[in-house]
């Protein structure tokens, strides 16, 4: 049910459609003010959790609305009527991809806020939660962005607070270095992307994705368009951490505190991915034959480099960092095999990517939650997980299940299901070589996930129970429960996406 506003000077705004980004933004301001004027240090975290839950309520309501309206429906707002442009174009629209990324964002905020409860000594809580909600609001916005300006602004809104989140750490010097590295690389990528966007705007005369698509179909300057397309995608590639734009990932994750690394690996990656999906699906699809093969090679490289590098890691955060690079490769693969004019109809490929993203987010947050407890901020190696099954059975179970899901082996059925839908998208497109590369990668990935898994159950003399804070306990239990529920009922993931 697309509601178009009447032509006129004033735009009517569909507040329901933008409820989630607005909730997060309002939450950010409230958190900052409350922390400054009200006092108790735990307030910021609590308010953030409340914000995430309120946002989830809005998202659920909107998802129900969309579901009632049919599987391919969307709610658009900020539209420019056809009189001013060639088409009635909207800057913002909520569809199933938007709902999926909102889910990921809100879950990420919730888990990180829970992990930060009681860790006020490490970071100033008011500032941290303010930054996180700002960044999350950017991620929620990009999920619905349908023009390039909204996209870039939202993407920067995700990144800028994230630099500060990485650096905002009292106990650790490398954090500043990590933040600087992250900042520089990100700024360069944004610049490259802006250059690409300026080329596209120059050729098509519009920033609206649907109008760009129309103009590209008619355009005769193919070479310039090709450059514009590729440069635009480069910028998004940095956010997704696709090879060869992944170099910032390990150092930044290790330099940041563990919850921030969790945030980057889930929310920031989701923002980049959904930006990519929107741009490809609505704007650049006429050039699928240009970006398709490039993306396919990037996907293959991303999974291979990530997995091979992860094989040698002994530091759990660094291992998860490389693993998240590899997982991004699996998420890119279904997009890479789209071709030609079929892009608009290729709903399955987008669903595969988003399903993988949802599942990855749940189990990755679970793994990071356990690491944040066991690692406890100090430098640790996989060896410090020895005997975790005795010290902290719930955390051990959550970590074990998360690793199995990331590897895609039963009993982590949901992880297997994620790989299945991706494989299906690839096989349906007939890109055999990519399917084989991915098959080999699944095996490589297994090697390092299992090495860690074994440590969890390794007998150890150290049976001193780890101190499991309440917040982390809730975060771990929640993500574990979600992973188990969706392992029994994998169709549930797809029902989120059928909104």
């Amino acid at each position: 049910m697309t509601e178009l506003p009447v032509a006129g000077t004033l735009q009517s705004i569909d507040w329901a459609a933008i409820s989630v980004p607005v909730t997060l933004a309002v939450g950010a301001v409230v958190v900052l003010l409350a922390d400054a004027f009200l006092g108790p240090r735990r307030l910021a975290g609590t308010l953030t959790i409340v914000t995430a839950i309120v946002g989830a309520g809005f998202a659920l309501g909107l998802a129900n609305d969309l579901q009632g309206a049919g599987s391919e429906s969307s709610r658009a707002t900020f539209c420019v009527p056809a009189g001013l442009e060639r088409l009635t174009s909207c800057s913002y629209a909520v569809d199933s991809a938007t709902i999926a990324v909102w889910t990921v964002t809100l879950l990420g905020v919730l888990v990180v806020a829970l992990l930060m409860l009681g860790r006020d000594d490490l970071t100033p809580p008011g500032e941290f939660h303010f930054l996180m909600l700002c960044s999350a609001s950017g991620a929620a916005t990009i999920a619905g962005a349908r023009d390039l300006v909204t996209l870039v602004v939202a993407l920067e809104l995700v990144s800028l607070p994230a630099f500060a989140m990485v650096g905002l750490r009292r106990d650790n010097k490398p954090a500043a270095e990590a933040a600087l590295k992250f900042f520089l690389i990100s700024v360069v990528s944004t610049a490259v992307m802006l250059f690409g966007i300026s080329l596209l705007y120059g050729i098509t005369g519009s920033v609206y994705l649907d109008q760009i698509a129309v103009s590209l179909n008619e355009s005769s300057v193919k070479a310039v368009v090709g450059v514009g397309v590729v440069l635009t995608l480069v910028g998004l590639g940095f956010k997704v951490a696709a090879v060869p734009f992944h170099v910032w990932v390990p150092d930044t994750y290790v330099g940041a505190s563990v919850p921030v690394a969790a945030y980057l690996s889930v929310v920031s990656k989701a923002a980049g991915l959904v930006g990519l999906i929107q741009v490809l699906r609505y704007g650049l699809w006429p050039y699928a034959d240009t970006w398709g093969p490039i993306l396919a090679v990037v996907a293959a490289l991303t999974m291979t480099v990530g997995n091979v590098a992860a094989l040698r890691q002994r530091d759990p955060v660094r291992l998860l960092a490389w693993s998240s690079v590899a997982q991004a490769g699996y998420m890119l693969a279904p997009l890479a095999v789209l071709s030609g004019s079929s892009v608009l109809e290729s709903r399955d490929a987008f669903v595969a990517t988003l399903a993988y993203l949802l599942i990855y987010s749940i189990v990755n947050l679970s793994a990071f939650a356990v690491v944040s407890v066991v690692g406890g901020g100090r430098r640790d190696t996989l060896d410090s997980y020895a005997g975790l099954s005795r010290r902290e059975p719930v955390a051990a179970a959550a970590l074990a299940f998360a690793l199995l899901c990331l590897a895609g082996l039963p009993p982590g059925v949901v992880g297997l299901f994620a790989k299945l839908v991706v494989f299906q998208a690839i096989v349906n497109s007939g890109t055999g070589w990519l399917a084989l590369v991915m098959a080999a990668n699944v095996a490589i990935g297994l090697a390092y996930y299992l090495r860690w898994l074994v440590m969890v159950f390794w007998p150890s003399a150290d049976v001193e129970p780890t101190n499991l804070p309440n917040g982390a306990g809730v975060a771990i239990t929640t993500t574990l429960t979600l992973a188990v529920v969706f392992s029994v009922w994998p169709a549930g993931i797809l029902s989120i996406l059928s909104a």
């Binding site: 199995l404 039963p410 299945l420 839908v421 299906q424 084989l436 098959a439 297994l446 159950f457 169709a491």
Partner: protein, 501 residues
């Protein structure tokens, strides 16, 4: 009654879960729990077998068919026919025997509790694989056994060589996972053209609607995954190390039931789903099978370690099974299925015996075991001798029929297969049987005869008699009355082959 099949599959997993969650369980109690749970599963399987309509064993029975992942058409479809039932019984039986053997001689490293949990999970995986009728469900169960088996080899293996255990286990796991990932691609290729994962429906279609080239690619992908599991020469390289390092119970289950998942998949999925592709690949499968028979036998002749020797003999036996399948005849496939069961019984027994020897002597090397076993431990040596002659295919014991039928199938292969090639394979495999006899008799001579020397060994114990006697008895029974198995498998094979070969 229908629910009973699901109960049988689920009971070991639930037992494993209960044991994992129970606080402070001693080693002995854990092993007893394992016996209890697996005996429950065996009892359930026996009830299934009694309730099974043997007059109509080509039909799926005890069928459960519910929606599982509706958006991509994955169903929770279970059921058994004459092909699955013997394997189900074999699995349940060997599991009980393994737990019984754990009562007295658990591996010295690691706790027994963890081992019991893993073996119970493994049992659920295998039982599920043999009764799943949906490709994705099959795949899930197929993969379920991997982690437990990897763990069993890595942590409960040879106590003197932990890094070696880990290496062997990891090679096993990575090869199998790579294979099965390729197999999954094959399944999806089939799905892309048929829109269903249902094995029964796919078997009825007989490849209709799948272009010939796609069939070939899908058959190659699926076959590769199954061939790693079986294992088919030259993809067998994970097997000898995995067996040599695994604890006795691990070896028994690995050889006895895990390998069967590969050959079962060949019969249940590979043959009926993509028949055009299969027909083009069958000669290669037959050739690899025939080579495996000879290769396995030659490798056995060169072994100095008893466990490795038995492992290589498995490669040879699986060669016969693959040869039987590749003939695309009812005789060959029935032979393959019979050889499956016989190999499970006989090689299970051999690994129990060798494990017993290794526990006693601390090594399974010929040099450490010494000579003159007939005189030092006459009863134990007698069982070893029995298992060896059964394994080399002495007529009248279970090992004979499967190999005979496989070669019979190769003599007159089905479809448009080149007869000359298959007759050659038959001749090569026939030469392999002679070599097989040579190494088994050589084994008996080196181990059993000669002047007694080597460490002091105890003779057979009561618990060993209990564990081994069912296997001995069934080897004799199936040797004398092969119809017990073939009567079950033949109608089901006829159905799979579309009414005749």
């Amino acid at each position: 009654m229908t629910i009973l099949l699901l109960v049988v599959i689920g009971v070991p997993a639930l037992g494993a879960l209960a044991l994992a969650l129970a606080p402070r369980v001693g080693d002995q109690l854990a092993a007893e729990w394992g016996v209890l749970v697996s005996a429950g599963a065996l009892a359930g399987t026996v009830v299934l077998a009694l309730g099974f309509d043997r007059g109509d064993s080509g039909r799926m029975q005890f069928v459960t068919d519910v929606s599982w992942i509706a958006p991509i058409n994955v169903r929770g479809h279970f059921g058994i026919d004459g092909i699955s039932l013997p394997l189900l019984l074999l699995t349940a039986l060997l599991s009980v025997l393994c737990f019984v053997s754990l009562l007295r001689n658990a591996p010295s490293c690691g706790g027994t509790r963890g081992l019991v949990v893993l073996l119970l999970l493994l049992e659920t995986g295998v039982l599920g694989t043999f009764s799943a009728l949906d490709l994705v469900l099959f795949f899930v169960f197929f993969e379920t056994v991997l982690i437990p088996m990897w763990w069993v080899i890595a942590d409960w293996g040879d106590p003197h060589d932990m890094p070696g255990n880990r290496r062997a286990a990891t090679v096993f796991l990575l090869m199998t996972v790579t294979g099965s990932a390729v197999m999954l691609v094959g399944f999806l290729l089939v799905y892309a053209h048929t829109g269903t994962f249902d094995m029964v429906a796919l078997a009825q279609r007989g490849g209709a609607g799948i272009p010939a080239v796609t069939q070939l690619v899908a058959a190659l992908a699926i076959g590769l995954g199954l061939a790693v599991k079986t294992p088919m020469w030259p993809l067998h390289i994970w097997l000898p190390d995995a067996h040599a390092k695994a604890p006795t119970v691990g070896s028994v289950l690995l050889a006895g039931v895990l390998l069967k998942m590969g050959t079962y998949g060949f019969v249940r999925i590979w043959l009926p789903t993509v028949p055009d592709g299969v027909e083009r690949l069958a000669p290669y499968l037959g050739a690899f099978g025939a080579i495996a028979v000879v290769y396995g036998a030659l490798a056995c002749l060169a072994q100095t370690d008893l466990k490795r020797l038995i492992a290589y003999s498995s490669v040879g036996h699986m060669g016969f099974v693959l040869l039987g399948i590749s003939t695309l005849t009812t005789a060959g496939i029935n032979g393959a299925l019979f050889a499956n069961v016989a190999h499970g019984l006989i090689t299970g027994l051999l690994f129990f015996c060798v494990g017993g020897l290794k526990d006693r002597a601390g090594s399974s090397d010929f040099a450490d075991l010494g000579r003159g076993l007939y005189e030092r431990t006459p009863r134990l040596a007698g069982v070893v001798a029995f298992a060896c002659v059964a394994s080399l295919g002495l007529p009248g014991l279970a090992g004979f029929w499967g190999e005979m039928l496989s070669m019979l199938g190769a003599f007159d292969p089905g479809g448009a297969l080149a007869r000359g090639a298959f007759v050659t394979f038959m001749a090569v495999a026939g030469a392999g049987t002679i070599l097989t006899a040579a190494y088994f008799l050589g084994l008996l001579r080196r181990l059993g005869q000669g002047l007694p020397s080597g460490p002091d060994l105890d003779d057979i114990r009561v618990d060993e008699v209990l564990t081994w006697s069912p296997l001995v008895a069934l080897t004799v029974v199936f040797g004398l009355a092969p119809g017990l198995v073939l009567g079950l498998t033949n109608p089901a094979v006829q159905v799979l082959m579309g009414g005749g070969g």
